[in-house]
């Protein structure tokens, strides 16, 4: 199968969030109702029962005036995914067409992937002690359907198809947008981390959409991959026993979110 991807064109997205609901519907995810905090965005980030969110970012530019940027956010299905590299259980795999698939049956809930992912995507679902994330609707795509989110999108902001073809569409769109009032329009996902299996057409620079301009896999991960993972087999019992090892690794890998291991939002 050729590489298949979702193309998301923010210039067409009206932030209706049909995609967010379609994802919950297809994956039968419970609502995670959090009180309104002053922004239309439902959650700060994705969570164990929410594989995708639409982010809302408002600001004011001295020249262009007010902007209100929207961004559908979910797993980027990296070509060489850090989540997969660090997973001690091999719960992650790449499908022949490019989805990063996470197998809950293999997942032991250790959450190392949550630290490794440059986009902070894998989330812990406490009630099952498992990690969850966007599946790129593997179960639909392999039956010849498009992902639920793309199927729902009323404006055509989300499309699904052959990555090479969609990359061309994206290049055209960026050209058009640059000539039509968005001089900083750009593609995201073409080159980042060696090419993501999720393409974005952005109307402005990635930072205006809270996307890392040059996403990197944390340095410790490389260390982990090369030095620790090979020995993981015999370390596991120790780690699960909550030993000094577990203490050390979590310290090494801990990123900014203090409540990370809590899984939150349940």
């Amino acid at each position: 199968m050729a590489r298949m991807t979702n193309l998301y064109d923010v210039s067409k997205c009206t932030a209706c969030r049909g995609c967010q609901v379609a994802c919950k519907d297809w994956n039968q995810l419970p609502a995670v109702i959090e009180p309104f905090t002053g922004n239309y965005q439902t959650h700060e980030s994705t969570n164990g029962d929410t594989y995708t969110i639409v982010k809302f970012m408002e600001g004011e530019d001295p020249v262009d005036g007010i902007y209100w940027n929207f961004l559908k956010y979910q797993c980027m299905h990296c070509s060489d995914p850090a989540c997969m590299s660090v997973c001690p259980q091999g719960a992650y795999s790449k499908t022949s067409w490019g989805a990063t698939f996470h197998d809950p049956d293999k997942c032991i809930g250790c959450q190392y992937c949550t630290y490794a992912c440059p986009f902070e995507i894998p989330k812990y679902r406490k009630r099952e002690d498992k990690i969850t994330k966007c599946t790129l609707c593997v179960d639909r795509v392999e039956e010849g359907l498009t992902p639920a989110c793309a199927r729902t999108c009323p404006t055509g902001a989300l499309t699904f198809g052959n990555r090479d073809e969609l990359l061309q569409v994206a290049e055209e769109r960026v050209k058009f947008l640059r000539a039509n009032g968005f001089p900083r329009a750009t593609i995201y996902g073409k080159l980042e981390l060696g090419g993501l299996n999720k393409l974005y057409v952005l109307t402005d620079t990635p930072d205006k959409f809270e996307l890392p301009i040059d996403p990197k896999v944390p340095g410790q991960i490389t260390f982990w991959q090369d030095w620790i993972q090979p020995y993981f087999g015999w370390l596991i019992p120790v780690a699960l026993a909550g030993s000094a090892f577990s203490f050390v690794t979590t310290r090494i890998l801990a990123n900014k979110n203090g409540d990370h291991t809590e899984g939150g939002h349940e």
Partner: protein
């Protein structure tokens, strides 16, 4: 819509004003996006706050709520002064050339013929000069000082850019950008569309707001053309259908006026008074006769006309007036169907109190609504002590309340008519839950029961019921096929349905035809016995046919469902061609003169063989008695839109000395808020994530998750001034009541610079009530009981309030 959703892809410029299309009509952006991509179309959004629509617009211009006429008036002035209008179109297809009688006058906000006591006009003063042969007197050069074009020029010359911006609070450079971009559609080969919704209509000048758009569109030659039109984005999937089917008190199905007792005492008088001398409405007696025949098939229409209920002459029966009567105890019982007024109605506190005056209430809905539970303790809770209407606790409410569960749209079959007038049949997808029933089944059983109760009566006053024809099959659910056939109409043979009529041109005024709604006649023209073929609203053929290789298709999709009238997708389409019958733009050709007859990518809204160069060949608006588009017309407040301030406004009217629309009825003078206590402009609106009064969405966890709380949007400046933090609780207060909501402090709302002073505006979501997964307080506890001078649609969109920390 004069046009339809798909047609938005044909536009060069979309002016979205009084609508948050991206949020409330998401599908519109599918087509606008295509217009932008394929034609380089510009999208303009004019709105008090920066919305998701603004985020996708090329130009955003803020305006203060309630100043559309000033805004559009200034555009018209610019277009008239700089001759940016589409001259040939204006000359031939509008009444710009008509001469107005010298009894017309306008002075300081008041047109001639005003009676200040009654707050009413004598519209006869605004009439046109007629020739001796009964035709309209015209000046085709449009130079006569009393021709409509010159009168408009004079009327709008006061609307200069500076003054308009002082009123609307729009920054001048933004206003100029909007004017330039939109005036460009006055070029003969360019087309612009205006998309509006309740931001336009829910004002004391709602009707004139819409008229101002229509006039602008006529000036620029944008009506009747692919990519153009005045497009009301209807707020519900079937609100177009329900309007066509006489949801409102003043009309019968198909826009025939409901009779008034003294004005229309009998059939002959009704026809004499209501039938114009020219235009297609000369056929009105045929439509009325066929409608009466459908209700009372065995009776002569002249007799069955007497069975129609008659209004008290001049009495207002609109929503506000009805609740005022209920509040006074005049109305004793109510069936409320798919409506939730103590969330959705204006001055919801008063309406809640009014409900308690009922002896009985039957509520029909998918869920228990706040209205069906108006008597509960939950309904009693208020955030402050303010209680202007003395709301009663449950133990003091005597109303008997019955609740009938209705099923959802996917649990029944039937048709809906969308904004574009497309009547689409939908098949049932799932069985109804529990004891819930389809609306049709509920009304069917109710009608049969009433007939049963009256059976055997020989009293003449019972005849409207005893003689009523109600033959819709034998099941609990009426047979939809029979109903659809009746809507289309048929020949009556021996008091029974005979063969189907082809369309409304075959209806008769002598009682030989019956038709449920003449504008829908043509939807079920054949009799093969196969509803999939005969009932055209069931069609799903997804091809966009092309009749001539020179003229590419325009997205009519004429075999996908059916649209009224006679499957014509864009109305007034005669205007899409030059007076000689050649398309203004061959790439967007709607209809054209092919030598012997009109051909097109659409059904001509014109005599099929009427030669454009022969008699009547340019009478493009066949429904109007004037046979042209009316820039100058008759509304209750005058022949041309004039700016008046909302009932509650922060400033005096800068254009004239009438603050309030002179023809508006004020129901509660003592409830008019003033700036000393209520200095902030308030408005209400919806979001994508919830639906109307929230009954269908607050009950859905996934949707409650998206918008979990009622919030009020305000500027950072106002929040700073009132020491309000983003996300914190605030009290919003008007003379009618207080509500609590969460603050959404945003850069997207900015204070308006109005006549030299900064004025703040806030906006509250009106979806919330005390039930569901996302409960909140109804914003309509804040809104006033005052409405438009023609329709009495409530002024939800502009009122005065104050905001403070909770």
């Amino acid at each position: 819509m004069t046009n339809h959703w798909v047609d938005l892809k044909n536009t060069d410029c979309a002016l979205i004003i009084g609508s948050n299309a991206a949020e409330n009509h998401p599908i519109s952006f599918k087509w606008l996006t295509q217009a932008r991509e394929k034609r380089g179309a510009k999208i303009i959004n004019v709105d008090p706050r920066f919305t998701r629509t603004s985020a996708r617009a090329d130009i955003y211009a803020p305006l203060r709520s309630g100043t559309d006429i000033a805004f559009i008036g200034g555009m018209m002035n610019y277009i008239l002064q700089n001759k940016r209008y589409h001259e040939e179109y204006v000359r031939w297809y509008t009444n710009a050339t008509f001469i107005v009688k010298d009894t017309y006058g306008f002075d300081d906000g008041i047109f001639s013929g005003y009676d200040p006591e009654k707050r009413k006009y004598d519209g006869a003063k605004w009439a046109f000069e007629m020739n001796e042969d009964g035709t309209y007197m015209k000046d085709m050069t449009m130079e006569d000082p009393r021709c409509v074009l010159q009168i408009m020029k004079k009327h709008y010359e006061r609307y200069d850019i500076e003054l308009v911006c002082r009123i609307t609070g729009t920054p001048k450079n933004k206003y100029m950008e909007v004017i330039e971009a939109y005036a460009a559609t006055g070029a003969p080969d360019k087309v612009g569309t205006i998309m509006y919704a309740m931001g336009t209509t829910q004002h004391t000048v709602g009707t004139e707001n819409v008229r101002s758009y229509a006039i602008l569109q006529l000036l620029l030659g944008n009506i009747g053309r692919a990519g153009g039109g005045v497009n009301a984005l209807r707020g519900e999937s079937n609100v177009q259908g329900s309007t066509d089917w006489a949801l409102l008190y003043h009309i019968l199905p198909g826009y025939l006026n409901t009779p008034e007792a003294k004005k229309h005492p009998d059939y002959a008088t009704y026809n004499a008074v209501e039938t114009p001398k020219t235009g297609y409405w000369v056929n009105k007696p045929k439509f009325l006769s066929s409608l009466l025949k459908c209700y009372w098939m065995e009776d002569d229409p002249a007799k069955s006309y007497d069975y129609l209920p008659k209004r008290i002459d001049g009495k207002n029966y609109a929503h506000i007036a009805m609740f005022e009567d209920m509040y006074k105890g005049i109305i004793k019982g109510m069936i409320i169907w798919g409506s939730n007024p103590i969330v959705g109605g204006p001055n919801a506190n008063k309406e809640q109190k009014a409900l308690a005056n009922l002896e009985w209430l039957v509520a029909i809905d998918l869920w228990q609504t706040e209205t069906s539970e108006f008597w509960s303790y939950k309904a009693l809770e208020r955030p402050t002590d303010k209680d202007e209407y003395d709301i009663k606790p449950p133990e003091e409410i005597k109303t008997d309340v019955y609740f009938l569960p209705a099923c959802g749209s996917y649990e029944k079959e039937g048709s809906v008519s969308n904004s574009g007038r497309w009547m689409q049949f939908r098949w049932k997808a799932a069985d109804p839950v529990g004891e819930s029933k389809a609306d049709l089944e509920i009304v069917h059983k109710l009608a049969l029961k009433i007939k049963e109760l009256y059976a055997g009566s020989s009293r003449v006053e019972d005849e409207p019921i005893t003689r009523l024809t109600w033959e819709y099959g034998h099941g609990d659910h009426p047979d939809i096929d029979i109903i659809a056939r009746e809507i289309n109409g048929f020949t009556v043979v021996d008091g029974k349905p005979g063969p189907q009529v082809a369309n409304f041109t075959k209806l008769m005024d002598d009682g030989t035809t019956a038709c449920g709604n003449w504008i829908y006649s043509g939807v079920y023209p054949a009799d093969t016995g196969n509803p999939d073929v005969d009932y055209l609203a069931r069609r799903r053929i997804n091809t966009d046919d092309q009749v001539d290789p020179n003229y590419p298709p325009i997205g009519s999709y004429s075999q996908w469902s059916w649209c009224w009238p006679v499957n014509r997708r864009i109305i007034y389409n005669r205007c899409s061609s030059t007076p000689e019958g050649v398309p203004w733009d061959p790439n967007r050709a709607s209809i054209w003169w092919a030598g012997e007859e009109w051909k097109g990518n659409d059904i001509p809204d014109f005599g099929k063989t009427t030669d454009p160069n022969g008699p009547g060949g340019r009478n493009a608006f066949i429904m109007r008695p004037e046979l042209v588009g009316c820039m100058y017309s008759k509304c209750n407040e005058g022949p041309l839109p004039e700016h008046y301030e909302p009932w509650e406004s922060p400033i005096k009217n800068l254009l004239n000395n009438q603050d309030l629309n002179p023809a508006v009825t004020v129901f509660e003078p003592d409830k008019q808020g003033t700036t000393d206590k209520y200095p902030i402009i308030g408005t209400t609106y919806r979001v994508s994530e919830h639906w109307q009064s929230g009954i269908m969405t607050r009950t859905q966890p996934w949707l409650a998750e998206l918008m979990p709380n009622c919030f009020v949007e305000m500027s950072e400046e106002l929040a700073k001034d009132r020491d309000i933090k983003n996300g914190s609780e605030v009290i919003i207060s008007t003379t009618r009541g207080d509500i609590k909501a969460l603050a959404c402090v945003t850069k997207r709302f900015k204070p308006f610079l109005i006549d030299g002073n900064y004025v703040h505006q806030v906006g509250v979501l009106w979806h919330f009530g005390f039930n569901g997964y996302a409960p909140g307080e109804p914003a309509n506890r804040l809104t006033p009981h005052v409405g438009d001078a023609n329709t009495t649609i409530p002024e939800y969109k502009a009122w005065l309030c104050d905001v403070r920390r909770a």
